[in-house]
Amino acid sequence: MSYSLNEVEALSKRAARGAGLDWGLAEEAAKATRWLCANDLDGCRLLKSVLDAHQDDSQNSQPPRFLSGEWSGQMGTLCPMRSGAALSDCAAQVASEGVEIRDLSNPLFMLPFVAAVARVTKTCLHLAWEGASITTDGNTVDLTFAAETTPYVGRAGRLVITQSAPLTKPAKSLCRANPSSQDWDDLNTLAALTYAPATETSRRLGAGDGQTDND
């Protein structure tokens, strides 16, 4: 089924929150998922994978220890959401000096954050990991993946972000997303964790007692 990008963003935010992310990160995860879908990438599949990693084992979803030098976790794999958020917080530094990140899960989920940095700093950035080479100015994306690799690889040993020459191809974005029904259902299951179970009080008072609505 085709979904609007607002539906993708709204569900992604709830799912990310349901998976235990703080609200601010959930908002950014939702915008990232929407951006991926608008650029013809399977954002819902990636978000699902990122949230699974986040829930499974906190060792697999670390924030970077420091924001200088090579970025790495205390121990275990870096979370692309925490790393992506940190990346956007250091936009000027990233755009001018680039950054190297070691041991990151779901590396493609970094792309929307790199794109946001490119857009805000008005630069063109290159993002690479083994088998993947991506250039973006924030609105346009040029992706190259080696034949034997998938864009949706679960982990990258080393990810490098550098400045690049401007892109020449025109921007093209989609206005609908077509996630697999399984991913959509899984995100809905996570989102449901944010809904308060109904109680007698909430049924009676939650939306406002009051006068009849028929006349």
């Binding site: 990160l25 009080t201 406002g208």
Partner: protein
């Protein structure tokens, strides 16, 4: 004369404007979304047709109403249903309605009508596509519907008193837009001039819905009365709007869209400032103000509510009107310097918040050329404010919190009264709700709709940090404050982005938030039915699509319009 004077006043202080009691006293104005729509359609000479009216004798079927603008045509596709009385509920949680609607982008063909007929009547349980710009439904006012059908069928006009007491034949219970249930995202249509201002597609759908409802009631009377039946007198028809019941679903909107809400309030405040800076008012301008004031007083006379809070506010407002008329008798505004500024200052000293905000809305009326261009600033389509400025120092961030939420830093947040409520989404209905934090098991599900409390929490955490560290470093350790810090940074450039009140206090009235939003739609006759939902009327007094001209496109909101009573 509308010459600009040296700056003697500035825009009103957000700390006063953004209090909930004042936001809950806002009135429609020239920048309201319904009036922006009717002005544009009249200026551009839009053409309206009913291309299909396939309604059977039992009142069921479908109809299509087309609105043709300079470049594009939009079609309201309406489905009329036979709803059992016990199924009729205005709550957003209802599952069946008297009529259901979608605004189609273009002119639908038979296959599209067939697709929509399978989905639109189901509302939330169906799916629409990127060809649809809205999804909505409406229920009859059973009482008035029956009376009007019976009167018209018998060849008579309905009783004016009954029309006035209800004000509409149908009321919508939700008008969904922007990507909801599969519809087109706002981003898809935001670059069309006709949809540049907020909620124009939704307003257009309601404007056309009103035409359908009139045709439907006349059809029902025709079926019942045959040759005896008459049509509704156009002047009488014009006094019927479309009702709307709005509940808590709308309240979080103004918190969740801080930049957009800032832009609405900023435009209104800027319009007020421009009018206050008018050095001398002409006799014609003063006369126009006095005319809309008089007509507004008539509208207010017809505004009824049974809610104790609104009854008190209405009483005060009626007293304010008397005081205003006295002021105008005693002061010749054409002889004063900065007459509107003086009037606003006088109102601040002498009127209730309802009256003060009415004055703000009304003083803009003679000054369309001075303020109407602000309608271009109401949207938020190109901002990158979502991005956190991580290089900001902790010191500067703390200063920002102090300047935006200083009052909240003084509040004792450990006092249960100050955090008695919590906003949540219910599993049963997937709708926003507000509950009692200490009496219901909802805190774990709390939505981030208490920006002031959260700002205080961030401020406390920041207090333990070296003032020269960066926000990026702070957030690496404290991701739980990201949403708050984003808002605080937004407030630096958007002074009206934050409600300057406690949205989780024991005595918070969600209807204040509803009214703030609905006033920008252009709604009138706010009638709170509890502290959590409100009835309003839309397009009451407006010309019907086929009657729309430049002469009647703007001031219809005030009874006794140009078309004359």
């Amino acid at each position: 004369m509308t010459g600009r004077a040296p700056l003697t006043v500035c825009r009103r202080d957000p700390k006063r404007v953004m209090r909930l009691s004042r936001l809950g006293s806002l009135h429609q104005c020239r920048l309201s979304f319904m009036r922006i729509l009717t002005r544009r359609m009249a200026d551009e000479a839009w053409e309206f047709t009913c291309s299909v009216f396939n309604i059977a004798a039992d009142g069921t079927g479908h109809a299509v109403y087309c609105a043709k603008g300079p470049e594009r045509t939009y079609s309201l596709v309406a489905f009329a249903h036979d709803l059992a009385p016990e199924m009729r509920s205005d709550r957003v949680i209802a599952e069946a309605w008297d009529a259901t609607f979608t605004l189609f982008d273009g002119i639908p063909d038979a296959s599209e009508i067939a697709r929509l007929s399978q989905n639109v009547p189901l509302q939330e349980a169906g799916r629409v596509s990127e060809s649809e710009l809205s999804l909505s439904r409406a229920n009859r006012s059973v009482r008035l519907w029956k009376h009007v059908v019976e009167a018209l069928a018998a060849g008579q006009q309905p009783d004016p008193a009954q029309l006035t007491s209800v004000g509409y034949l149908m009321r919508t219970t939700a008008v969904y837009g922007s990507g909801k249930f599969g519809a087109a995202d706002r981003e898809l249509i935001a670059d069309r001039p006709e949809f540049a201002a907020p909620f124009q597609a939704e307003m257009l759908s309601v404007f056309l819905t009103r035409a359908f409802v009139l045709d439907l009631v006349e059809h029902a009377a025709q079926v019942k009365g045959g040759d005896t039946a008459v049509r509704l007198d156009p002047k009488v028809a014009r006094q019927l709007g479309i009702g709307n019941s709005t509940g808590l679903g709308m309240a979080p909107f103004i918190v969740n869209h801080p930049v957009l809400f800032n832009n609405w309030i900023m435009a209104r405040e800027e319009a007020l400032l421009r009018v206050r800076q008018v050095c001398r008012a002409t006799r014609a301008e003063v006369a126009q103000f006095e005319e809309v004031l008089g007509r507004s007083a008539r509208s207010i006379a017809q505004w009824h509510s049974e809610h104790p809070v609104q009854i008190i506010k209405l009483d005060a407002l009626r007293g304010d009107l008397d005081a205003l008329f006295s002021y105008l008798t005693e002061h010749d505004l054409t002889k004063k310097n900065y007459p509107w500024d003086q009037l606003v200052r006088w109102s601040e000293a002498n009127l209730s918040e309802e009256g003060q905000e009415l004055v703000v809305s009304l003083v803009m009326e003679p000054y369309g050329p001075l303020v109407d261009d602000l309608s271009a600033d109401l949207s938020d389509d190109h901002s990158d404010v979502f991005f956190i400025a991580g290089s900001m120092t902790v010191r500067i961030l703390k200063n920002l919190i102090q300047s935006c939420f200083g009052w909240a830093l003084e509040l004792d947040w450990s006092n249960p009264k100050n955090c008695a409520r919590a906003w949540y989404v219910s599993a049963e209905k997937l709708e926003p709700r507000i509950g009692s934090r200490f009496e219901e098991p909802i805190e774990d599900y709390e939505q981030p709709l208490a920006p002031a409390r959260d700002a205080v929490r961030a401020f406390v955490a920041l207090g333990e940090w070296d003032q020269d560290k960066t926000v990026a470093e702070f957030l690496l350790v404290h991701p739980e404050h990201r949403h708050t810090i984003r808002r605080v940074q937004i407030s630096a450039t958007a002074p009206y982005s934050e409600i300057q009140d406690n949205t989780i206090s024991e005595d918070v009235l969600p209807i204040d938030m509803l009214r703030a939003k609905l006033s920008f739609f252009g709604a009138t006759h706010f009638d709170p039915r509890s502290d959590r939902w409100v009835r309003i009327c839309m397009f009451q007094g407006a010309p019907y699509p086929c009657e729309l001209t430049k002469d009647n496109a703007d001031y219809w909101v005030y009874p006794g319009s140009e078309a004359g009573e």
